[in-house]
């Protein structure tokens, strides 16, 4: 183990729905709008596919922030999926906050397929927030700690 302090590189998981936000991320890419490489995107069919367990799992495995993006309310490809997602996440995030995973580490953002700029702006500000919060230690798997 090296004694010198390791530079903090956050692990950030972004769940993006296939129809709006994933396409928004693609647009950010094709428009060459940069955001930090710490963000890794997982494609899901709809924001309502994101099981709270996935987010808990991410934090347990050492993620420092989780962001979920979906179609704007009313624009869901499946009509109502993002409404369910919104309610679930409100509940989950308040619970996470309660157990010490600060609200800044979790976020829900609506990004349409046309909002490449919004996607990169969102990711930039989210990553900045995670840097300011530092490493997430609350939900890490204790067995993995040395």
């Amino acid at each position: 183990m090296s004694i010198e302090k390791k530079e903090f590189k956050p692990k950030i998981v972004a769940f993006c729905c296939n129809w709006c936000s994933y396409a928004g991320a693609d647009l950010a890419g094709s428009s060459r709008l940069s955001y930090p490489a710490d963000v890794k995107i997982i494609r899901v069919p709809c924001s309502c596919r994101v099981n709270p367990m996935f987010i808990l799992r991410a934090f347990e495995k050492g993620a420092d922030g989780v962001i979920m993006c979906g179609c704007h309310p009313g624009d869901c490809h499946y009509s109502t999926g993002n409404y369910y997602a919104r309610r679930r996440m409100t509940l989950l995030f308040s619970m996470l906050d309660y157990i010490g995973v600060e609200n800044g580490r979790t976020r829900v953002e609506w990004v349409s397929a046309a909002e490449g700029v919004k996607f990169s702006d969102t990711m930039n500000s989210f990553v900045e927030k995670i840097y300011s919060l530092g490493e997430n230690v609350r939900l890490g798997d204790l067995r993995c700690r040395s």
């Binding site: 994933y22 693609d26 890794k40 709809c46 596919r49 367990m53 993620a63 679930r88």
Partner: protein, 662 residues
């Protein structure tokens, strides 16, 4: 264990300039299951695809990861390439290292690191992929239209012209719907019957169209492409094949006291009747509630006068079962009940009428033969007051929260027609807003004001008080003058809110089509799929989806027809294999998933299960993969974790999460 091949694309320099592609390929070989990894200039090219095919054969690959551009771009390409090489197309995953990596990062080391992680996530997912097979279902090449108004007729004609069989089911004795009750139509003022009747005739004469009038849909089962529908043909008491439509029975019928539905109860009709002269089919119906023969057993005059011998008192309801590939709902609207709006004195005075009643009054075939007169004493009115937004835009429990959309225009039409035909009649319109978006609509409204001198007052009416002298005292606001107005009127016309036909709730339930709080059918997407129900194979035509005028209804009817034709043109439907499925051993039949499913794809069955040696019958969720669109709402809602989504399973997504957070 899978045998996975990883293919890293340079995309010319698009990827290779910022990502060390060789390094990604090298790192891939260290991942579990990966037996082959290579990088190539353009994976999507013929040569690139050939490399994939070769590797599949040589290394006996069971799964593929392509690190390239967005799956939205080339997922289909690579899936097809894999399929051609004999691999299940759903064993291919894409790691998006172009849009999500090389194009947005500048630092090579950082971008390469990220690309490796994205590759790992894709490999982790493929390790858990299972071969999926799209389902197939056949399509019955026949459409059912529920409702025979202008929306239903237009949809039927368009589908039939494309060469498909169409059945129209209409509840009343004739097709024609609300439009047949109208006198003139805005904004051109052409006579409604003149433009509708030819369409009715065309529909009835069309060899591909079969019309069931005086019939209702009783039961619907099945799914897109393969619906089975029971239609109840109510007993008409008249043999449709024998009747010549001569009309003698209606003339001679001694029972003439039943309120005429067609004339909105403003006058009466005989017990044996056709709703109106141009009815199609021109075959009367015996109203068994009003018929003396049915009530007392004595009479039978119609049977005696009918030279064709068409009267059949013994006729019974008949159930017809038919198969359909597509169903179009065109159930239309009615005006709301005004019982809760007592301030407008609708129930107290015969001279307070709804706009639809005024249509009948103005119509030459109506109760007053087209003369504008007070229904209480038959006198010609001198002062007429129109009140807008009666029951529309009301957020209380008396009315409807939405704008009924057509009232501003038909009120302008009525005002204009009255001023044109009876220039000595003063017409006042109380309005909140005049809403006239539409081609030539605002011009039409301005014509009423400027050319015909209709007096528009901004302000709502508070109450209408019937006076002892038979006049109606209208108390309203003039908001622009900041005055309260008291006006004596001879007739008051209420622009009554419209609501979906009350039967639509029952029909929507049968079709598992979703419905909003106002009983309007919900479209699959408010903007992009406005004529389809979220339930596959169900299409929406006309006001059942939301308030509309005639041009919009006809346009939507055509759109619904095209969507239905698009479905009927297929012999078989390939269904998306990425659908939800329920684990029988975990499901407890709680119905949570059914409630969140926007497509009505989940039903419950009592099934025998073998739960670790215990055999018992349980209520279990069953997903109809022909209806499921794979959104995954049910998978998260399921409290017992029984639901999972193929292609995006819990284990697959968690594997991706783990790979990213490793």
């Amino acid at each position: 264990m899978q045998r996975i091949g990883v293919f890293v694309c340079h995309c010319g320099s698009n990827i290779a300039a910022t990502v060390d592609v060789a390094k990604v390929a090298e790192m891939a070989l260290m991942e579990p299951g990966v037996v082959h990894a290579e990088d190539y200039q353009y994976m999507c090219s013929e040569a690139g695809q050939a490399k994939i095919a070769d590797a599949i054969h040589e290394k006996k690959l069971s799964g593929i990861v392509v690190c390239s551009c967005s799956p939205r771009m080339h997922e289909a390409t690579f899936r097809k390439a894999a399929e051609r090489a004999g691999l299940n197309p759903y064993m291919v995953e894409i790691a998006n290292i172009r849009e999500h990596c090389s194009w947005i990062h500048k630092d090579m080391e950082e971008a390469t690191k990220k690309a490796v992680i994205l590759m790992r996530a894709a490999v982790a997912k493929v390790n858990l992929n299972t071969p999926l097979k799209p389902g197939e279902s056949r399509v019955t090449k026949r459409a059912l239209i529920i409702g025979g108004g202008i929306a239903g007729i237009q949809t039927a004609l368009d589908i039939a012209d494309a060469g498909y069989e169409v059945d129209i089911v209409e509840k009343t004795p004739s097709i024609g719907g609300r439009m047949s009750q109208l006198d003139k139509t805005f904004p051109t003022l052409d006579c409604s019957a003149c433009i509708l009747t030819p369409k009715m005739v065309e529909a009835s004469a069309h060899e591909k169209i079969n019309i069931y009038t005086y019939s209702e849909v009783e039961k619907v089962s099945g799914f897109v492409g393969d619906f089975t529908v029971d239609i109840r043909k109510k007993a008409r008491s008249v043999d449709m094949d024998k009747c010549t439509g001569c009309g003698v029975c209606q003339e001679k019928c001694p029972s003439k006291k039943a309120p005429s539905e067609f004339n909105r109860g403003l006058n009466t009709r005989s017990a044996i009747y056709t709703p109106f002269a141009q009815a199609i089919p021109n075959v009367p119906v015996i109203d068994r509630e009003a018929c003396i023969k049915f009530k007392t057993g004595k009479c039978g005059i119609c049977s005696k006068v009918c030279q064709a011998g068409a009267i059949d008192y013994e006729q019974k309801d008949e159930i017809i079962t038919e198969k359909y590939g597509a169903i179009v709902v065109a159930t239309g609207f009615d005006t709301i009940n005004l019982d809760k709006y007592d301030e407008y004195a609708y129930s107290q005075s015969k001279d307070v009428i709804t706009s639809l009643e005024l249509e009948r009054v103005m119509n030459a075939a109506g109760p007053t033969h087209g003369h504008l007169e007070r229904l209480s004493d038959g006198k010609a009115p001198k002062e007429m007051v129109f009140i807008q937004c009666v029951g529309s835009r009301c957020s209380d429990d008396r009315g409807k929260p939405y704008c009924s959309k057509i009232c501003c225009m038909y009120t302008a039409k009525h005002a204009m027609l009255i001023r044109d035909k009876y220039p000595d009649v003063n017409v006042t319109v109380f309005y909140i807003d005049v809403r006239t978006p539409g081609k030539n609509f605002d011009e039409f409204y301005r014509r009423a004001v400027e050319q015909y001198g209709v007096n528009y007052i901004k302000g709502q009416v508070g109450k209408v008080i019937p006076q002892p002298n038979g006049k109606l005292l209208v108390q309203g606001s003039d908001l622009l003058d900041n005055k309260q107005i008291l006006k004596e009127a001879d007739m008051v016309v209420l622009a009554t809110a419209i609501e979906p036909n009350p039967d639509v709730r029952k029909i929507a339930t049968m079709l598992t089509a979703s419905i909003d709080t106002n009983n309007f059918l919900t479209e699959a997407h408010a903007k992009l799929r406005p004529v389809e129900s979220p339930t596959a194979g169900i299409f929406l035509s006309g006001v059942c989806q939301g308030p509309k005028d005639i041009p919009e209804t006809v346009a939507q009817a055509g759109a619904a027809a095209v969507k239905a034709i698009g479905l009927l043109a297929k012999d078989k439907l390939m269904t998306n294999p990425c659908t939800a499925h329920s684990d029988e051993l975990l499901c407890n039949g709680c119905s949570t998933c059914e409630n969140v499913c926007p497509y009505g794809a989940i039903t419950y069955e009592d099934k025998e299960v073998n739960d670790h040696g215990i055999r018992e019958v349980r209520r279990l969720a069953v997903v109809n993969s022909a209806l499921c669109q794979g959104c995954g709402a049910c998978t998260v809602a399921c409290p017992s974790g029984a639901m999972d989504l193929q292609g995006f399973s819990n284990r697959q997504i968690i594997a991706e999460v783990d790979a990213i957070c490793r």
